[in-house]
């Protein structure tokens, strides 16, 4: 029973990592850049929900919708102002800019909300599920997070593989120049990618803070890094890979906390990452790319 509850907590933590990792992998897959500000967009999303629902007393569903709209616009604006002027620049310059945006968002939140931790009210009204005669309880937040992550993963995979904008995105990802020659609006596609990634961030923020209800301007930083690791673990650029990587990371982290040592869990997680990358450098579900010489 202990193993089962450890496993379920691990999957729940992993689904949150997966939800964040989907945003990372989406942007990396299409725009070929690491958006390190992604974790902080999650924090912004959570603060919008907090302001709307806790301060403004709005319906949680409405609050999440407002957060999605806000983060979508924020994502597009960040891309326009910070990343678009660097389209031709070296990838290192874009990476540093992303870190700059991350600090900018953290400090804006510090200015507006202050650095003390806020208690978040759950946006999930689902009742906890009790199994095995009360010895195993799964909270509504955990169930919701797992379901939402799976639904989003399936929807994203279908969108990228089956729709016309999805096809255009894949074309941009493969060769920007050629895509432009085929009449695809490259900038439009990249904006769309950021819009989707940031909308996912808002959902991830609301669910993360419902499960772990402490919200501060730094709340997105550590989960952002863990989710980045999850994306690399699963194969960055691959949508099912982000899901698999996120859930595996959460499960490994929780099982090592539960059975080996709660002090060594991070070391174990990163140790496993190193081993996976040694054996399979592109991650678990990453595609092998043959460079033509």
């Amino acid at each position: 029973m202990k193993f089962l509850s450890q496993l379920i907590s691990g999957i729940s933590l992993g689904s949150i990592y997966a939800l964040i990792a989907l945003g990372y992998t989406m942007v990396y897959g299409i725009a070929k850049m690491l958006n390190f500000a992604h974790g902080d967009v999650i924090m912004v999303g959570a603060f919008v929900v907090y302001t709307a629902c806790v301060k403004g007393g709005m319906n949680p569903a409405l609050g999440v919708l407002i957060a999605i709209a806000f983060c979508t616009v924020l994502g597009v604006v960040i891309e326009r102002l910070a990343y678009k002027p660097l389209r031709q620049a070296a990838s290192l310059a874009v990476l540093i800019t992303a870190i700059g945006v991350s600090y900018f968002l953290q400090n804006m939140a510090l200015l507006i909300f202050g650095s003390d931790t806020k208690q978040f009210s759950s946006v999930v009204s689902l009742k906890p599920i009790t199994l095995a005669g009360g010895s195993l309880t799964i909270s509504g937040e955990i169930v919701t997070t797992i379901i939402v992550s799976v639904v989003i993963m399936i929807a994203l995979t279908l969108f990228v593989n089956k729709t016309k904008p999805g096809k255009a995105m894949r074309a941009v990802s493969e060769d920007k120049g050629a895509a432009q020659l085929m009449g695809i609006n490259v900038n439009g596609m990249i904006s769309l990618t950021f819009a989707i990634g940031s909308a996912l961030a808002a959902i991830a923020g609301a669910l993360m803070c419902s499960t772990y209800p402490a919200l501060s301007p730094y709340a997105g930083a550590m989960p952002g890094i863990k989710a980045f690791v999850a994306a690399v673990f699963g194969g960055i650029g691959s949508i099912p890979g982000a899901m698999v990587g996120g859930v595996l990371l959460g499960v490994i982290e929780n099982l090592s906390k539960g059975y080996i040592s709660s002090q060594l869990s991070d070391a174990i997680v990163f140790g496993v990452l190193i081993i996976v990358l040694l054996v399979k450098p592109t991650g678990i579900m990453g595609k092998k790319i043959n460079e033509k010489v």
Partner: protein
């Protein structure tokens, strides 16, 4: 023509520097900001000229602001009362509280700017980790440091001018273990602690040692770090699986609030018990107080106590800060007692406005071992030469969203 231009530029530069220098004199952040005397409308005439300057350091903003603000208000209340009654040895008392956000580096910076302000003694710092850094500086300067609430062992171990008002971690871990054993609260106990924080680890170590001596079993010992302070499900699952009847939360209240929620999520309801860092949990913005129902914690101060010192302190605090009553907690009480202890010791040692800080250190480190202060956090408080206070803590319990004596 060219010469004229050069002269003009030089003059302009000189002007700029002159203004900059002026600005530095008037806008210096370390400028004295003496506390307004708000208990008495008529200005008090002091017997002597000059001020005795007491510095304060604590987290007025940030995660631990609940503690820092409480200390600030408690100390300011004591200073206002003392000034209304004629000051210390006939000198007006000036109190200057600087923010450190609970960070060691910022704390040392705050200490240095207080030194620039000519502080004679320090009431601070509020939390343990910065106190370790600041007490090393204070010991080197022979500055008297009286921390209201820095309870880790090494917070005052840097030198013989470092003292504290609250009980040490040693004491908290031991007293908590004794309380569990004396009241037969549980025979199987689990401990969760923050391995990246000396306050948390210190209490845990002493609890474990004392538990062995008092014959109850520690069935689970789980850690977390500042970087992993959101998900506690694995630790809580282990507590539940090990059958812990009581979980000791050796930490501050922010992670504790998450543990309380996640334990309820999986339907686990042991007795929760913690150190004085739990104080303030009910004051968190938007906190669901039913989560903390039945939580016990060590505290030297209970608002509901009926002794004279507590009643006077509570009444004056509420009158002076009607909008900030949530800061009326043990940290405010510790700070209030700290200021009165400094007053008693300064009077015994005849400290004046002109006594140099290093000399004050020499005088007060002896005087503090000789005073006997009847304070809010304990009667007949005195100090040992190693800086530890001589008093026993009490235990509080949260009932129906309010704190009561357990």
């Amino acid at each position: 023509m060219k010469m004229k231009r050069i002269i003009a530029v030089v003059l302009a530069l000189a002007l700029v520097f002159a203004f900059a220098a002026c600005g530095k004199n008037t806008d210096d952040p370390a400028d004295p900001t003496p506390v307004e005397n708000n208990t008495d409308a008529t200005p008090v005439a002091f017997a002597n000229e000059g001020t005795i300057k007491i510095g304060g350091i604590g987290p007025i903003t940030g995660d631990l602001a609940q503690y820092g603000m409480a200390v600030k208000l408690g100390a300011e209340l004591a200073v206002a009362e003392i000034n209304a009654a004629g000051g210390i040895n006939g000198y007006e008392v000036a109190f200057n509280m600087q923010d450190d956000q609970g960070d060691a580096e910022k704390s040392v910076n705050a200490y240095n700017s207080l030194k620039d302000w000519d502080m004679q003694m320090l009431m601070g710092t509020v939390t343990s980790t910065p106190c370790v850094a600041v007490s090393a500086e204070a010991a080197a300067d022979n500055m008297l440091l009286l921390t209201p609430s820095g309870s880790s062992i090494d917070a005052i171990s840097a030198g013989d001018t470092c003292f504290r008002v609250c009980f040490s971690d040693d004491n908290q871990g031991i007293v908590a273990a004794d309380y569990i054993a004396d009241n037969n609260l549980a025979t199987k106990v689990g401990v969760i602690f923050n391995s990246s924080d000396s306050y948390s680890t210190g209490i845990k170590d002493n609890l474990l040692t004392e538990a062995a001596a008092r014959g109850f079993e520690i069935v689970a010992e789980e850690a977390f770090t500042n970087d992993s302070a959101t998900d506690f499900s694995a630790q809580i699952n282990n507590m539940q699986a090990a059958g812990a009847e009581l979980v000791f939360l050796s930490m501050y209240y922010t992670p504790a609030s998450l543990i309380l929620k996640q334990a309820r999520d999986i339907g686990y309801a042991p007795i929760f018990f913690g150190p004085d860092g739990m104080d303030g949990i009910l004051g968190m913005e938007n906190f669901d107080t039913t989560l903390a129902e039945g939580l016990r914690y060590l505290t030297p101060f209970l608002e509901t106590a009926t002794d004279d010192a507590t009643v006077k302190f509570v009444t004056n605090f509420k009158n002076s800060y009607p909008d900030q009553a949530s800061y009326l907690n043990q940290f405010a009480a510790d700070a209030y007692d700290a200021i009165y202890a400094l007053k008693a010791a300064s009077e015994l040692a005849n400290v004046t406005a002109d006594t140099a800080a290093s000399e004050v250190g020499d005088l007060l480190k002896v005087a503090l071992t000789q005073v006997s202060v009847d304070g809010v956090t304990g009667t007949a408080m005195s100090w040992a030469a190693d800086g530890e206070p001589q008093k026993q803590p009490r235990v509080a319990i949260i009932n129906d969203g309010t704190v009561a004596a357990a």
